[in-house]
């Protein structure tokens, strides 16, 4: 039973990770996907992003959600920067009734939401957006 449950969990996790689209392909010569590059940039600034989990949204097929401090984060990979830009407005739907932002950084759509109202000055959101590579 224990093995079965473990395999189920592993299968779910691998299956979710396996949904990564074209946008998550490693960049030429960099060894990291554009989404990883965003996360790495935040890590480098010691902002400590949480582990990202697959997320299902209506405006993108390959998204992962997590947190950076008190800010909720959604990173969606697209096939091209133009596709990511086109998803900026729909991305605001994920923000909902909160302070937030949705911007394309290359082929990655970065969506941030301060649902806990813990960043009233918006400094963290501003820093996260500015650190994300284009």
């Amino acid at each position: 039973m224990r093995t079965l449950v473990f395999r189920l969990a592993l299968g779910l996790a691998l299956g979710a990770c396996g949904k990564s689209g074209d946008g998550d392909k490693p960049g030429a010569g960099t060894g990291a996907s554009p989404r990883d590059a965003v996360i790495d940039a935040w890590k480098a600034a010691k902002l400590g992003p949480s582990a990202m989990a697959p997320a299902t949204v209506t405006f993108a097929k390959d998204c992962q959600a997590g947190t950076v401090g008190t800010i909720e984060v959604l990173l969606c990979s697209f096939g091209s920067p133009a596709d990511a830009r086109a998803a900026e407005d729909p991305g605001l739907a994920w923000v909902g009734a909160a302070t937030g932002a949705s911007r394309a950084h290359g082929s990655v759509l970065v969506v941030l939401a301060d649902r806990k109202k813990a960043d009233p000055s918006g400094r963290t959101i501003n820093q996260l957006m500015k650190l994300a590579p284009n």
């Binding site: 224990r2 996790a13 959604l74 739907a93 923000v95 009734a97 302070t99 911007r103 400094r123 957006m129």
Partner: protein
């Protein structure tokens, strides 16, 4: 076993949560902003430092914000609301090239109508339309029709800043030639600001034609953020044109009316209620010692 089950439950919960978060909360109405702006007091006050496009669930006013492709762009002085970042001093009205400030490709020129010295968090782009004097930017360009047309309505922004107490920049240098604040033809519909206890009457200056070279603008101003008195003298061929500029700000002495309130003394009548003295005469009752009470028991 229990740890494994918990891990699965967490994973499933995350997936469900992620899916749920994908739909926008219809209860709160998103309002789009771009650039740094103040946060309303009702929302905690202070400054929002998000430079790029973003959303809040509170509204923007129509005097301190302009529309930039569907987003509210703040054209006021952020220092008045507690902004503590990089700042630049301007004096008088000037254009703001919003697309340059926010870094997008769609041209959008808006105008700041704050009188006198004030701050913005951006410097103007290099070019001939601004000149620097005393570490302050002065607009010396040719203001377009859009600026003049919106001026009467947008000058209301000065009524917003007048009561705000904050450290304003002090600009003591003479404005450079061609400064918009000294141009007579732009004195147009002025805003009359009547300070609460103004006792100074500022009269429009008399035009004085001084020996001047062609194209020279002579100006005089009181170095106060809200008062500008300017005389523009444009001398050029073929004739001499003398513009007498009406004061942009008219300070009227407000009469002090003291309403003397009559003092009414209500005299309360003193009513003395004389209490009748009632004397109850106690009747003398002679007890018959031989009378036996029914309670007597022997």
């Amino acid at each position: 076993m229990s740890r494994t089950v918990a891990a699965v439950a967490t994973l499933v919960a995350l997936l469900v949560l992620a899916g749920h978060a994908g739909s926008a909360d219809a209860a709160g109405r998103q309002v789009r902003y771009v650039g740094i702006h103040p946060v309303p007091k009702s929302e905690g006050g202070g400054i929002c430092y998000i430079e790029g496009p973003h959303v809040h669930v509170f509204d923007a006013d129509k005097v301190q914000y302009r529309d930039h492709h569907g987003a509210n762009y703040f054209v006021g002085d952020p220092v008045a609301y507690g902004y503590d970042g990089q700042r630049y001093v301007y004096k008088g009205h000037h254009p703001i090239h919003v697309n340059v400030v926010v870094g997008d490709d769609e041209p959008d020129d808006e105008y700041c109508y704050i009188n006198g010295p004030h701050y913005h968090y951006f410097a103007p782009p290099e070019g001939p339309e601004f000149r620097v004097a005393g570490d302050a930017y002065f607009y010396v360009g040719e203001p377009p029709h859009a600026y003049i047309e919106a001026r009467p309505a947008m000058m209301r922004i000065n009524a917003v800043y007048q009561p705000l107490a904050y450290e304003r920049p002090v600009v003591t240098v003479d404005a450079p030639e061609g400064w918009i604040g000294a141009r007579a033809e732009l004195s147009g519909p002025a805003v009359v600001v009547e300070p609460p206890r103004a006792a100074v009457v500022v009269e429009p200056p008399r035009a004085a034609v001084a020996p001047a070279r062609a194209g020279v603008t002579v100006q005089g101003f009181i170095p106060t953020p809200s008062l500008h008195i300017g005389v523009g003298i444009g001398i050029g061929s073929p004739g001499v044109i003398v513009h007498e500029r009406a004061p942009a700000v008219i300070v009227r002495e407000r009469p002090v009316i003291i309403h003397e309130r009559p003092v009414i003394v209500h005299e309360r009548p003193v009513i003395v209620h004389e209490r009748p003295v009632i004397i109850h005469e106690r009747a003398k009752v002679q007890h018959d010692n031989n009378h036996r009470s029914p309670h007597d028991h022997r």
